[in-house]
């Protein structure tokens, strides 16, 4: 095996290793599965949101790392894909630095995420590092042509199947573009706009005891503040206020519905009634309320832990709340750490 082949293999393995560092960073530091992988996950379900404790606590110190890693790993991989020369290498490095800067600048014009000058620096520094590395590995003749150390120019003439080389180049370029576009589109808020994931937040719990003993109560004069699902039962109109409870109106006169009560039910989304028994969800529980007397609504039964534990029921998807401890209760919100 020639020196150039060995060098290419070494560069390829180094590129893969550096890329793995970037992927690990996303999985363990940002605790976010990049959008491209998430999208695949919808077709080949991997489980959407991991509810495990993070291995490394969230910090903002290494925000520039993914850009650096991306430039370094894909420059190495691209250089290793075919015959190594200085001109080609610089072109490849310039390409990846350019792509990264383009995506970063794109954040100023609508791409999701926050523009950070540190990312621009990281891209340039990464590119310079690889350029220096290439320069050290090659010995330049008097002209502009450079060759791999200890190898003659004739020996490095390509023997490789040019077809497989171009396939490798296309694959690497494709993976590079996909990985960077994935990293820039992983977050959408509830309005479908790009957003910044807030990593440094923690869940706020309501204990199972509180959920099941004191949470449900009737508040006659609570105003309607949010609207959700609606339900008609006889002359009553029931309106869910998402995650808060149910407003009950006497709707005999449709021109003048009158407010009878607000039933405070944490984590309530859905309603159904049969024979004066109101069925509601309250986070993980199904609760039965007797509404035969609207002035004396009371809980008569509860099926506990029947619905899935969903920590994101009342937390926007762009907030990363973790680590979770379901034994502490249901998650009713989040608190940002400053």
């Amino acid at each position: 095996m020639r020196n150039s082949d060995i060098l290419r293999i070494v560069l390829f393995i180094t590129g893969i290793a550096v890329f793995s560092v970037g992927i690990s960073y996303y999985l363990w530091e940002r605790l976010v599965i990049p959008a491209t992988i998430q999208y695949l996950g919808e077709w080949f379900p991997l489980g959407a949101v991991p509810d495990v404790a993070p291995a490394i606590s969230s910090t903002t110190a290494l925000n520039w790392l993914p850009t650096f890693v991306h430039v370094v790993s894909f420059s190495l991989l691209s250089i290793s894909a075919s015959r190594i020369s200085n001109r080609r290498s610089y072109l490849v490095i310039g390409f990846w630095v350019g792509i990264n800067i383009l995506f970063e600048l794109g954040q100023l014009f609508g791409l999701p995420g926050t523009f950070d000058a540190a990312d621009i620096c990281a891209a340039i520094v990464g590119g310079v590092c690889i350029a220096v590395l290439v320069r050290l590995l090659l010995v330049c003749n008097s002209g502009s042509k450079c060759v791999i150390t200890h190898e003659t120019r004739t020996a490095k003439q390509g023997r490789f199947n040019s077809g497989s080389v171009s396939v490798a180049t296309v694959l690497i370029a494709g993976l590079g573009i996909v990985s960077i576009s994935g990293s820039y589109t992983y977050c959408e808020d509830s309005e479908g706009n790009g957003c910044e994931v807030i990593y440094d937040a923690e869940p706020v719990y309501m204990s199972y005891e509180e959920l099941r003993t004191s949470a449900i109560r009737v508040q006659p004069n609570e105003p309607l503040t949010k609207t959700g699902k609606i339900y008609l039962y006889q002359n009553y109109l029931l309106v869910n206020s998402p995650n808060e409870g149910v407003h009950v109106y006497d709707n005999s006169d449709k021109q003048n519905p009158t407010h009878l009560a607000f039933i405070n039910i944490p984590g309530n989304i859905d309603i159904a009634v049969k024979q004066d028994y109101l069925y509601v969800d309250s986070y993980v529980d199904l609760v039965v309320l007797d509404i035969s007397d609207m002035s004396n609504i009371r809980e008569v039964h509860r099926v506990t832990d029947i619905f899935p534990y969903n920590p994101y029921q009342n937390v926007p998807v762009e907030i990363w709340i973790g680590p979770l401890d379901p034994s502490k209760g249901v998650v009713i919100g989040y608190k940002e750490n400053f």
């Binding site: 379900p45 609606i230 339900y231 109109l237 859905d270 069925y279 969800d281 199904l286």
Partner: protein, 255 residues
């Protein structure tokens, strides 16, 4: 429960029957075909009551409760349905479950054991479904938290539930809840407003009036009264004559 209470329930039942007859709604659809001891939900509902059973859906499963004793629901069975199931609609002997990837149809003449019949696949999106007669009406929304990018109303022929077939799809802006009563179809179409269609011929929906300027989430059309859950309040319209007439508005109060 006192005798007067039974009497009042009976009165309500009788009134409901009379009102139904008066409205001339023919078949009347899923909404007004309900028995008076069970209420009527909107298209976004994840709960449905059929006879002695309460069905609920969450994430991937259909949970069935035995409510033959209404005060004491007993978890009866749980069926895995599919990923990201979101809405549940019961019509005659079938259950229609709206999911991100399509509409799951279950045969339900034996309510304790719903049997999977078919899956009508569509573009990815959030999709409440309502059914009347031989047609299912599905809205697809592909923005916000919903995957995909399709925004449309689809009409599916379900006269043969094992072979649901697309009749026609109509472009929409960002549709959510919908409801149908006889030939009137109401669709909450995001910022485009509440739309009213004549659905007599599913191949040719006719827009009956300009969209009402709302950003609504769900509707229930029942006995000429349309209840609308809007971002800014609960509105009720009379649809005995067109254009629909606003009856009342319960505004949202900002705390």
């Amino acid at each position: 429960m006192g005798q007067s209470c039974y009497l009042s329930i009976l009165t309500v039942c009788v009134l409901t029957i009379i009102l139904n007859a008066c409205s001339g709604g023919g078949d009347g659809g899923g909404a007004s075909a309900q028995r008076a001891d069970v209420g009527t939900a909107g298209s976004m509902s994840r709960f449905a009551i059929v006879d002695e059973y309460l069905y609920t859906i969450a994430d991937e499963s259909l949970q069935i409760f035995d409510i033959s004793t209404p005060s004491k629901p007993i978890p009866w069975a749980q069926f895995w349905v599919g990923f990201n199931i979101e809405t549940l609609f019961s019509y005659q002997s079938h259950l229609y479950i709206g999911a991100n990837d399509g509409v799951y149809i279950y045969e339900n003449s034996n309510p304790e054991f719903p049997e999977f019949v078919s899956l009508f696949r569509h573009f990815r999106g959030c999709d409440p479904v309502v059914v009347q007669g031989s047609y299912a009406y599905v809205t697809l929304r592909g923005n916000g938290r919903c995957p995909g990018s399709a925004n449309q109303l689809e009409i599916i022929d379900i006269s043969e539930p094992s072979q649901p077939t697309l009749v026609k799809s109509y472009p929409m802006q960002g549709p959510q809840g919908l409801g149908i009563d006889d030939n009137l179809l109401f669709v909450c179409d995001g910022v485009a407003g509440l739309k009213v269609f004549d659905a007599t011929d599913p191949m040719q929906l006719q827009s009956l009036q300009s969209a009402v300027d709302l950003d609504c989430y769900d509707v229930i059309p029942l006995q000429e009264n349309l209840v609308v859950s809007d971002e800014l309040g609960i509105l009720q319209y009379n649809y005995a004559a067109l254009p629909i007439q606003l009856q009342s508005d319960i505004p949202v109060e900002t705390p």
